[in-house]
């Protein structure tokens, strides 16, 4: 251990920083607890924020001890990675942009620097400068780790939501005995149309459906690719012995289809879901009679 009281003899800057961090752990954590990053995340009690700050300081000291101040993958960070992710996620939920988050992370630096200067005021200016630079690099690495963790957290969220969207977006509705319908909403890409096809065909098997209605009221645009997907689905349903009806083609989309010269000749189309249902019921030989009419005639 280097002699501090003498003021002259300093160890290597990294060792000095490590010792400083261990010595001033409590004070740094206390000051960080007042910074917006910690204050807004740990709203329950100040002690909680202080504890979190201490954990981060410990991690920094461990990284400095391992002489890896520039390495964001250093083992020391793994202990606080989850905590940083939680803090990052909390700030992101509060509506902060990544640059604002980076600003809040940068705000952790001045209090530490002030403490360092006060702590090493006996040291020669050269040694102080070196320590300050090392500590700055170390905190820079911490910022990098925090931003990395926060961003990967966001990516994981996006992946999870995409998966949920895929599941949610393709419900198969039983309209009648032997008639199922799929209301399509949103843009149809290859992945989604594949899911639509599979769920529709499975529903046809499970519900013994003779008719399947594809309602495209919620599809904003129909291009040649979407039309191809539709025709594939219709052809697959026909191979299985079910008749497929496409409904909900809006006037604008009908115009687009004609302008593009797409041939939907093999596909049975109806203007609305009601028309399609009426067609299927008629084919099934089911008649719907208004109760009041039949009652009145009796």
């Amino acid at each position: 251990m280097p002699e501090r009281e003498a003021g002259g003899s300093l160890g290597t800057p990294t060792d000095e920083v490590r010792d400083f961090l261990r010595r001033r752990r409590e004070q740094i954590a206390q000051r960080w607890a007042d910074e917006p990053l910690f204050r807004t995340v740990f709203t329950v009690s100040r002690d909680e924020a202080v504890e979190a700050g201490k954990a981060v300081v410990d991690a920094l000291a461990q990284v400095a001890d391992a002489q890896r101040v520039e390495d964001p993958d250093a083992a020391g960070f793994s202990a606080v990675r989850e905590q940083l992710a939680r803090m990052g996620a909390a700030r992101a939920r509060a509506g902060l942009s990544p640059s604002q988050m980076a600003g809040e992370l940068a705000a952790l630096w001045p209090p530490v620097e002030n403490l360092l200067v006060a702590d090493l005021d006996q040291a020669p200016p050269q040694g102080l400068r070196e320590c300050s630079t090392t500590l700055s690099v170390l905190l820079g690495t911490l910022r990098l780790v925090a931003m990395q963790t926060a961003l990967s957290e966001g990516q994981a969220l996006i992946d999870r939501q995409r998966l949920q969207l895929l599941e949610v977006a393709t419900p198969v509705i039983k309209l009648w005995d032997g008639i199922v319908a799929v209301p399509l909403i949103g843009t149809l890409d290859s992945a989604r149309s594949q899911v639509v096809m599979e769920t529709l065909l499975n529903a046809v098997v499970e519900q013994h459906a003779r008719f399947a209605i594809l309602d495209i009221t919620g599809v904003p645009t129909v291009d040649s690719l979407v039309a191809q997907h539709l025709m594939k689905t219709v052809a697959a349903a026909r191979l299985m012995g079910a008749e497929c009806v496409v409904s909900g083609i809006r006037p604008a989309i009908a115009q687009t289809i004609v302008h593009l010269g797409l041939d939907l000749g093999t596909v049975k189309t109806r203007a609305s879901l009601a028309d399609a249902l009426g067609h299927c019921l008629h084919e099934l030989g089911t008649n719907i009679v208004q109760a009041s009419d039949s009652a009145g005639r009796r």
Binding site: H208, R210, A235, L239, M240, G241
Partner: protein, 139 residues
């Protein structure tokens, strides 16, 4: 004459007669040779017995390649010539998707959800049959 009860050959597909309808059930993997054998058997049986319909149940088939797809289409076309209607019954979703991706939509082939629906379809008069496409005007 001693071959009246011929031994069942491996891969040989039995053709059952139910009244006016021939029922063929395909199971598991079908070799190219037995598919062609079936094609021949069917046309001979139809010509001999004068049935009006053929139901091919493929609910037990996991894989339909382009060759089998073509054979099925040919069977449908040749039974049409012999004044009988062919209905393909019980195709699995995965098989249907594969065929469509291969571009084999088998136009003009009648399809049904299962053998029961296929029998109903054949029981109806010719004009009422649906999704027959271009084969409707044939007698």
């Amino acid at each position: 004459m001693s071959e009246g009860f011929s031994r069942p050959v491996a891969g040989h597909v039995p053709v059952l007669r139910l009244g006016d309808v021939l029922l063929v059930t395909l199971q598991g993997d079908l070799y190219d040779s037995s598919a062609q054998q079936l094609q021949q058997d069917l046309s001979e049986t139809i010509a001999r017995s004068g049935v009006t319909g053929v139901v091919i149940d493929i609910s037990g088939v996991e894989i339909v390649d382009s060759f089998l797809g073509r054979v099925l289409a040919e069977i449908a076309a040749q039974t049409e010539l012999l004044a009988a209607r062919t209905v393909l019954a019980g195709m699995r979703p995965a098989v249907a998707i594969t065929l469509v991706e291969l571009g084999l939509t088998l136009p003009g082939l009648r399809t049904a959800l299962n053998t029961e629906a296929a029998m109903e379809l054949l029981a109806r008069p010719v004009v009422a049959s649906r999704s027959g496409g271009r084969h409707e005007e044939s007698p």
